[in-house]
């Protein structure tokens, strides 16, 4: 359904162009949940914002190809893109506190999106907003549509944002760290809700997060990003039970567990993720990698099939 090929996103900076996304290719199939995991600066959010056409900064250059149901999105006129956004492809953002306009009721904001894409009356749009709020388990939806964002708790706001994203029955839903700003008990509710809605609406979901645990719970397929590239991709079970890339392995090892023996020290990755303007020439993970050798001075490629990793140890 979504085909991204060799996507490159570069920012113009005073020190020259900085490539935030460096040749990312991936597919999203209908009805699947693709988990995108990575640390800050790995490019996980930027690549999906590029797909949404939400990078408005004139200093940014987007190259490559993004095909949605066979239609090329890179270079699509703004007006055409706008018709897709919100109707075909919807997005949920990280912080529900700031994602809603503070001066309008949530019912108004949901109806606004519905009426932007469908010619229906205000009354019908309001009814639809009520139905949507009920669907995301907000109590008293008739009353809730008249609430302003600040009158709702974080979890409720995120539910309202999800209801809004689903309002036009999108076939692709991009969720950018939708549970990071929430408490764990509320996170569990929202993950549960996303799973349920995904089944009912049969939308494909791209779920971005830094939390391996969340990915393990929600995704069908996983793609691990590091410094603007995909380092490993595969089916969730395969990837978690047999991680190939040293970064994925190390990342999984560095997370403390809730059960079993506690190690005296955690396994940790030395150093920190490279800054955007300071990325290593070859494999970006090489300087922190315990298995690096001569070949790592050049960029490893990610074979475009099944479970695989961009690593010379795995694919010599």
């Amino acid at each position: 359904m979504l085909e991204v090929r060799d996507l490159k996103v570069s920012f113009h900076t005073e020190q020259g162009p900085a490539r935030a996304i460096d040749g990312v290719s991936f597919d999203v199939a209908e009805g699947e949940i693709l988990g995108v995991v990575g640390e800050s600066g790995s490019g996980k959010t930027v690549s999906l914002l590029a797909v949404m056409g939400l990078i408005t900064d004139p200093n940014v250059v987007i190259e490559g190809s993004i095909k949605y149901q066979g239609r090329e999105l890179v270079g699509l006129p703004a007006k055409e893109m706008r018709k897709l956004r919100g109707r075909e492809i919807a997005m949920i953002f990280q912080d529900p506190m700031t994602a809603l306009t503070p001066v309008y009721t949530i019912g108004w904001q949901i109806a606004e999106q519905i009426r932007a894409h469908n010619s229906i009356s205000a009354k019908q749009a309001e009814q639809r907003a009520i139905d949507l709020l009920a669907e995301v388990n907000i109590a008293n939806p008739h009353e809730a549509i008249h609430r302003y964002p600040h009158q709702l708790s974080g979890g409720m706001r995120q539910r309202a944002v999800i209801a809004m994203a689903l309002s036009c029955n999108p076939s692709l839903l991009v969720a950018d760290e939708p549970t990071t700003a929430l408490d764990v008990t509320v996170q569990a509710q929202i993950l549960d809700l996303v799973r349920k809605l995904q089944k009912n609406h049969k939308s494909a979901v791209v779920f971005i997060t830094h939390d391996m645990g969340v990915i393990a719970e929600i995704a069908d397929r996983v793609m691990v990003m590091y410094a603007g590239r995909i380092v490993e991709r595969g089916n969730k079970v395969a990837l978690f039970s047999n991680p190939l890339h040293p970064y994925t392995k190390a990342l999984l090892d560095s997370i403390p567990l809730l059960e079993g023996e506690r190690p005296r020290r955690l396994k940790s990755i030395p150093g920190s993720p490279p800054a955007l303007l300071n990325r290593p020439k070859g494999c970006a993970f090489a300087p922190r990698c315990a298995n690096r050798f001569e070949a790592c001075a050049s960029v490893p490629v990610l074979p475009n099939a099944g479970h695989d990793a961009a690593c010379f140890k795995v694919n010599p």
Binding site: L54, R82, L84, G86, A90, T101, P102, V103
Partner: protein, 323 residues
């Protein structure tokens, strides 16, 4: 709501009383301000001074003098000038109010309308030549002193080009009463309105542009884009709406100050006998009753316009309603 209004009124009263006491004390603490010496004239004999002091009540304790003055302003309304004997102050202020209000309200309409247009257009086209042009224009407007601009306006419309088709409609300087001559009222005020408004149009346009550009960086604007809304709708319904709060705050302060007499320079240039001019003349002669009356009037409007700002806030921002 009722509680909020009562509280506001209480605050207002408090401010007014405080300001009047302060003005009163400052006046008597000012060296050379002894009103009896001023009234009795130079080289007056001590006997005459004493007589003047008695007849004006300056021999009474300060608090009595203050109370008498307040009574004369608010109850009997027969406070008279210390300088022009017999000139009643309260009616004089009430005569000046419509002049100042006409000037400031008209200018305020202009600067709000043009400020919003300029700020919004500049923010929508940010980075383009139009944006840069509007901002330079705004800066020019801010930098032109109002008395200079007013004189230039007068020069152009009253003498140099008065006889051309462009400005032959401009009536001579002065104020026309709105109820007896509405057409004259309007025509005489057009030039003063623009003169006074230009500074504020530049200022408000620039402030609004900055606020809008800031608002356009907010997460909710990104959400609005993700919803597939048009840029115009995002700008007007989401960004502008949330940016108006600081615009309104600024407006409340400026409007209050101008109505309170800060439009003095414009009044002087265009020979409009408003409150600014009244205050100015009273200050030159240290005429306490007039100063007192105009200061009270000014602070009343400053407090009132701030109270109005609070009410507008409640409409603009639902967060204020529940907080």
């Amino acid at each position: 709501m009722l509680l909020a209004i009562t509280r506001r009124l209480g605050q207002m009263l408090f401010v007014l009383v405080g300001i009047s006491i302060l003005v009163f004390l400052i006046f008597f603490a000012t060296p050379g301000a002894d009103p009896s010496a001023r009234i009795a004239g130079r080289n007056a004999s001590p006997e005459i001074l004493e007589a003047v002091r008695k007849s004006f009540g300056f021999d009474q304790p300060f608090y009595m003098q203050y109370l008498i003055m307040m009574k004369k302003i608010f109850v009997t309304g027969d406070l008279t000038s210390f300088v022009n004997r017999g000139w009643k102050v309260v009616p004089a202020v009430f005569e000046a109010i419509p002049v100042t209000l006409s000037l400031v309200i008209g200018a305020a309409v202009l600067w709000v309308v043009f400020g919003i247009i300029i700020g919004t257009v500049a923010a929508a086209t940010r980075g383009s030549w139009l944006d840069k042009f509007l901002m330079v224009l705004g800066l020019v407007g801010i930098s032109m002193p109002v008395y200079w601009l007013g004189e230039v306006m007068n020069l152009v419309t009253q003498s140099r080009y008065h006889d051309t088709w462009m400005f032959s409609w401009v009536p001579p300087l002065g104020y026309k009463n709105i109820s007896t001559d509405p057409r004259g009222w309007f025509l005489t005020l057009i030039i003063p309105w623009f003169t006074l408004a230009i500074l504020y149009i530049g200022l408000y346009g620039r402030v609004l542009r900055a606020n809008l550009i800031e608002a356009l960086q907010e997460d909710y604007v990104r959400t609005a884009r993700a919803k597939g809304l048009s840029e115009t709708r995002i700008l007007l319904r989401h960004a502008l709406r949330t940016s108006l709060t600081s615009f309104v705050t600024l407006f409340g302060l400026d409007f209050g100050a101008l109505v309170g007499g800060a439009a003095l320079l414009t009044e002087v240039v265009f020979d409009l006998h408003g409150v600014g001019m009244l205050t100015y003349n009273a200050l030159l002669t240290l005429d306490l009753p007039v100063i007192m009356a105009t200061v009270l009037y000014a602070s009343f409007f400053v407090v009132l316009s701030n109270a109005l700002v609070d009410v507008v806030y409640i409409f603009l921002d639902p967060r204020v309603r529940t907080a």
